[in-house]
């Protein structure tokens, strides 16, 4: 009698799908190269994963636009998503799964119970806490309740996209839904933030693969992002950097400087304060990235990027090297009382986040009154 798919090792599952050990070594080597990991790790990662049981992964989407998931599933190389979905057991994803309604909710409950303490929870989207969480609900449960329940049995949580990592656009002023990142709701689990609006597909799959193959949370920066992808700024690795050093700047998008490919700093490029791998891994199978296409970096992988002023205003150099916004955990502390319904309470502080939170709560209450 054939084994159920969840009982198979990754290697057996790959073979069932016609992916040989050699094909898997090719994939892991390319992934290790893209992640700037030591090159011998590729073959070692392939061997380790092939003999491992496929880890259960739950992908929950909350207040989001599905852009991150589009990024993941529409990655340039068609082998990436097919391989990653063979390496993991994607037990719940409401965008992809065939089941719907009660069946889907039952699948989530069963997968959480069967894999308690072992599964990887992937969160896409921010979590609205205003109006008792009513702004985002599925199966009769609010996002905040679903997250708390799902987090209990998770081995780790991977926040895909700036919304789940830092709140993103829903968190932006005036934050009408009282949106928060995952770190504001869950305080007792390892959390890996893969930020970006959306994140680079190879960064999402690479982070998942690294965690699954090693079973360990990778080295993280102060915003809980894997250093291997977020250790450098866009500016550090930008091919236009020599023009910045020479003081050659485009002054408008159609001037001679722009045509000559000069630095876009004066046109608002946020590369100097943005940590991401766009300048090295690039997009669409390594074809290009925004700066290479003639537009400055928006800083979408940083906390609070939506509220940092115009995308087209030059960034004061005084901001360089400073945190542009509170880190996610810091945001929780500043938010203090605002996340009383959450789990983590910090020192109440008259910070920006708290003011914003009070404002959004007030507006949510006003909105509720109008609705009634």
């Amino acid at each position: 009698m054939p084994l159920a798919s969840e009982q198979l090792t990754v290697g057996e599952m790959l073979l069932r799908h016609g992916i040989s050990r050699r094909g898997f070594i090719q994939f892991c080597t390319a992934t290790a190269t893209a992640m700037a990991l030591p090159p011998w790790i590729g073959a070692a990662m392939a061997e380790q994963l092939r003999n491992a049981r496929r880890p259960s992964v739950m992908y929950l989407s909350f207040q989001e636009c599905t852009g991150c998931f589009e990024s993941l599933t529409r990655s340039f190389s068609p082998t990436i998503e097919s391989l990653i979905f063979n390496v993991i057991s994607l037990d719940y994803d409401d965008t992809l799964m065939a089941a719907a309604g009660d069946q889907a909710e039952a699948a989530l409950a069963t997968a959480m119970k069967d894999n308690f303490g072992k599964y990887v929870l992937v969160i896409d989207g921010s979590i609205p806490t205003g109006a008792a969480g009513a702004y985002c609900a599925s199966g009769g449960r609010s996002a905040v309740d679903t997250l708390r329940e799902a987090a209990k049995g998770a081995a780790a949580i991977v926040c895909v996209g700036t919304c789940s990592a830092f709140g993103g656009i829903p968190f932006a002023d005036p934050n009408p839904t009282g949106a928060w990142p995952v770190t504001a709701i869950v305080g007792d689990k390892p959390i890996i933030n893969v930020s970006g609006c959306p994140p680079i597909p190879e960064v999402i799959t690479g982070t998942l693969l690294q965690f699954v193959s090693t079973g360990r949370v990778p080295d993280l920066d102060e915003h809980l992002r894997p250093k291997v992808f977020f250790g450098n700024t866009i500016h550090d690795r930008c091919y236009r950097r020599p023009f910045f050093d020479e003081g050659k700047f485009a002054k408008s998008f159609d001037d001679e400087g722009a045509r000559n490919g000069w630095c876009l700093y004066e046109l608002g490029c946020k590369g100097p304060t943005t940590h991401n791998a766009c300048a090295t891994i690039k997009w669409n199978g390594g074809t290009s990235f925004p700066i290479e296409s003639g537009h400055g970096c928006l800083g979408c992988s940083e906390p609070g990027f939506w509220d940092k002023g115009s995308f087209y205003a030059a960034q004061p150099s005084a901001e360089w090297g400073k945190a542009g916004a509170p880190s996610p955990r810091r945001a929780v502390e500043l938010g203090g009382a605002a996340v009383a319904a959450g789990a983590v309470l910090g020192v109440a502080s008259a910070g920006v986040s708290r003011l914003r939170q009070h404002r959004s709560e007030q507006e949510a209450a006003d909105h509720d009154r109008k609705e009634l």
Partner: protein, 155 residues
């Protein structure tokens, strides 16, 4: 012109003071790679631990690359693996040093390594796969359908 790689460029050596190859000299970058290879080869002999150098992570000009290829030369073995994409494995003149290139299904190179091992892992057969093949072959022999047993036995 459909690809970025089609845009003609003129490359200069990354090391301006690098003597040309005709003089028999090696640039600093190439010499550093060869030095690392010596270390990896000695480790391979001492502890049977394979190693690798990721060529795409190194800032090498086409001239550096050509100098490295000349320094390593060509060995006796060349192999092509057709799996998820194409992989080319070439032995160099230096025993235990292999030049390995991986391409994706679109034909774009996704990894280029110098592999230091007895045989690169991608060429060897894994024990579990050999065991599975033995099981399959035995099953074929014990319950052959017309013609199949004969065919399997020949293989």
């Amino acid at each position: 012109m459909s690809r970025l790689g089609d845009i003609p460029i003129r490359s200069e050596s990354s090391a301006r003071n690098e003597p040309p190859a005709a003089d028999g000299g090696l640039g600093g970058g190439v010499a550093a790679i060869l030095s690392e290879l010596v270390t990896l080869l000695e480790r391979l002999v001492a502890s049977d631990s394979p190693g690798a150098i990721d060529l795409r992570s190194l800032p090498m000009s086409p001239m550096d690359r050509a100098a490295l290829q000349r320094a390593l030369g060509a060995g006796e073995v060349q192999a092509t693996v057709t799996a998820q994409g194409l992989s080319r494995v070439r032995e160099t003149r230096v025993s235990g040093v292999w030049w390995v290139e991986h391409f994706d299904q679109q034909g774009d190179m996704v990894a280029e390594l110098i592999d230091v091992s007895r045989v690169p892992a991608i060429l060897t057969s894994a024990t579990d796969e050999i065991a599975a093949s033995a099981r399959d072959l035995r099953a074929q022999l014990t319950s052959p359908s017309p013609g199949e047993g004969k065919h399997a036995a020949r293989q």
